[in-house]
Symmetry: C2
């Protein structure tokens, strides 16, 4: 992530250049990067590995909060719980357990989610309905509520505003993830400065058209919850909704955002501060997407599918996602094989409109397909470039000026191994 | 495949029982099982393996013909060629090459497809536009037309009506397939008897919503090409369109059917003969689907996903296909893991309507999920049953009486290996 001075062609919706200078620069940490946020973790005994598995983030004051939620019709009760509460101006905490998804658990599951919020509320000294609950892990198992109840006082006592506490939170929410994933930015707009930081978990069961995995983001900007809701949905649609690991849409996925206003910088419905906030949120979300793609189950490389020349943004997304989801393409990338035929094939079945005369494909910057015909290229060079840790696929649909990027990874033996051996 | 006397609940559309006895019984062979059909193969030098790679089926008289075609927007010119000709009452031959898909080959590809039909027409003594051309293999390479031209006389000279010639055809059209796939039935309706036989190829790049792979079917029933077209589309929708190996919809896929009337049995727009023909065609197509699923790239077992209790047949198909396409479910089946959570998750994101109260899932005949809650079951027994060569997943959506079956296979290390190493 690099410091950017805002210029056109970013994710922000405004057309004109801001009058005030806006800087979005990398910052340290994750959920505790912004002022007024505390995090804590504890070993409750939910994970078989006996690692930390219950984690909380507390805001020192009521925060505006919004989220996006899985579109899977079989959703965990935690998703229903959060969606019913959001958007809200009065959220105080995230509570997340790993090791048990509490999904497909019927009425008992609903009671257990409410129970988690109630237990956290008591220990944190906040209302039950100000606690956003998230669960991740095995589907179809009940939560060990007694263990959670026993662990809650220790969790509350451990709350700290340090970067280390944020990192511990990022660690505790992991399941099959191999790497912690945190990202934060410092945003300067005129004389004001605020932070946006977050963490995410997920490396399988990840696919567009929903909130994709668990992601927790905090900011000390002051923003109305309705406006926050609009901005979060817009940014998630450009980032997490264009991310896929395996095409499976999970039952538990959410992106949750709290903004508590501790910085004193106010973000209103228009103007530079909104542009700055949206750019900052986009930067954090986009960075976390890249980290998930790089840590996709069994991944040996991260893949960015950039589509331009689309008539509509929806077309660009369709094409980018189809290529990012194609098992055949992803196996070829694992084999360092410049098999552009599979990429063209995926664009063909994506449903996106494209020009047969003008459509072209570049693989690692090498043009391989144009005018519905192969282009002679240096196979050896392509093979070598495909071995890199990050591979780019650039597709021009030849029809317009809309674009989209999808994030994914290659598809290796280890994806199968991890998912054949994962314990039910 | 077992001999069946027709009873209700088959694939046929008629509601009342036929007055005349109808028998559909297994028969030997494939594309030459029906009278008046000849097959031949030759080594043209298209496959790198130097195996037989150019194959033809000739009808001794003009045949009614129909087909279904891939919905991929980037289609091979052979698909365009066949779709432009069909349905037709004047088709004489199938011509198929393996080793080169002639897809993404622009204007040259269009000329080459027409060239193949012209060359075959000259040698077989039939009109160019009575030859249905199909190609399979690597995308983005031009056909070696000189080799094909040189091989054509030898191909024409080899034509024979024997079962061995049909089997040789089934062998020549294979690419990454490990097994030949043929199926045939003898259909008796009153005093009349006719045959339907076919062959198919394909083990990767196979996914619903198009003709799915190459399939060639012949029959000596007499049927009008418009009626044949209707019946073929109806049967393919219940069979090949519910088949998936990897979710990738190919550029070249077709199901092509010729019926030449050599049996003298006439199939009209209503009545027993139509019921018998449709049942026979369904039996052959369903059997070939099972054979493709069993030979799916890297498959260690065949999987049948049976959905019942749906409000509409479209809902049943959505749910069955989503489960059959889920990488996570298929990895779990490879690992003999009764991970019903992934099945429930796939039903959840399928878009199919279902009752949360009444939905249930059986795995290998064992009930594992009901009322959105897990059911206690014998894990050891389930694990043992999952090791069998054929695994059944039965899902009741709890809303109505419509049903559908999807065919697939498990997802193994070898799928990745085959597709990472396949040469471009």
């Amino acid at each position: 992530m690099q410091t950017k001075k805002i210029a056109p062609k970013t994710a922000r919706p405004a057309k004109k250049m801001p009058k005030t200078a806006i800087f979005v620069e990398p910052a340290k940490g994750g959920v505790t990067a912004a002022a007024g946020f505390f995090a804590a973790v504890v070993k409750a005994g939910i994970k078989a590995s006996k690692k930390t598995d219950l984690a909380a983030v507390l805001s020192d004051r009521p925060a505006a909060a919004a989220g996006t939620f899985t579109k899977n019709a079989i959703r965990a009760s935690s998703v229903d719980w959060c969606e019913a509460l959001l958007p809200s101006a009065k959220i105080r905490a995230f509570l997340c357990n790993a090791g048990c998804a509490n999904a497909c658990t019927g009425d008992q599951g609903v009671r257990d989610t409410a129970g988690m919020a109630a237990l956290a509320g008591i220990e944190l000294g906040v209302p039950q309905k100000s606690v956003l609950v998230a669960s991740t892990g095995v589907i179809g198992k009940f939560l060990p509520m007694e263990k959670i109840a026993n662990a809650m006082p220790k969790l509350a006592a451990a709350l700290a505003a340090t970067a280390a506490a944020g990192t511990a939170f990022a660690q505790a929410i992991m399941t099959t993830d191999l790497a912690r994933k945190e990202s934060a930015v410092k945003v300067t707009v005129g004389k004001g400065t605020f932070f946006i930081g977050g963490t995410t978990k997920g490396s399988g069961m990840i696919h567009p058209n929903m909130a994709t995995m668990l992601c927790f983001i905090t900011s000390d900007a002051a923003i109305d919850s309705t406006l926050l809701n609009t901005v979060v949905k817009r940014v998630v649609n450009k980032t997490f909704n264009n991310l896929t690991v395996d095409g499976d849409t999970s039952t538990n996925d959410m992106v949750l955002v709290m903004a508590n206003g501790a910085s004193g910088v106010s973000v209103k419905g228009r103007g530079e501060a909104l542009i700055a906030f949206e750019e900052g949120l986009f930067t954090v979300c986009n960075d976390l997407c890249k980290k998930i793609a790089a840590d996709g189950e069994g991944a040996t490389k991260r893949v960015e599918v950039n589509v331009k020349g689309a008539k509509t943004e929806a077309d660009a997304q369709l094409a980018a996602k189809a290529v990012a989801t194609s098992n055949l393409t992803k196996c070829a990338l694992f084999g360092n094989d410049p098999n552009w035929g599979r990429i063209a094939c995926a664009v063909g079945y994506s449903g996106a409109k494209f020009s047969k005369q003008k459509m072209s494909i570049e693989l690692c910057g090498i043009e391989v397909f144009k005018n519905l015909q192969p282009v002679a290229f240096d196979q050896k060079k392509a093979h070598a470039l495909l071995k890199k840790k990050v591979v780019g696929i650039d597709i021009d649909l030849g029809l317009g000026d809309k674009m989209a990027t999808a994030h994914t990874c290659d598809f290796s033996y280890d994806y199968v191994k991890i998912n054949a051996e994962y314990h039910t």
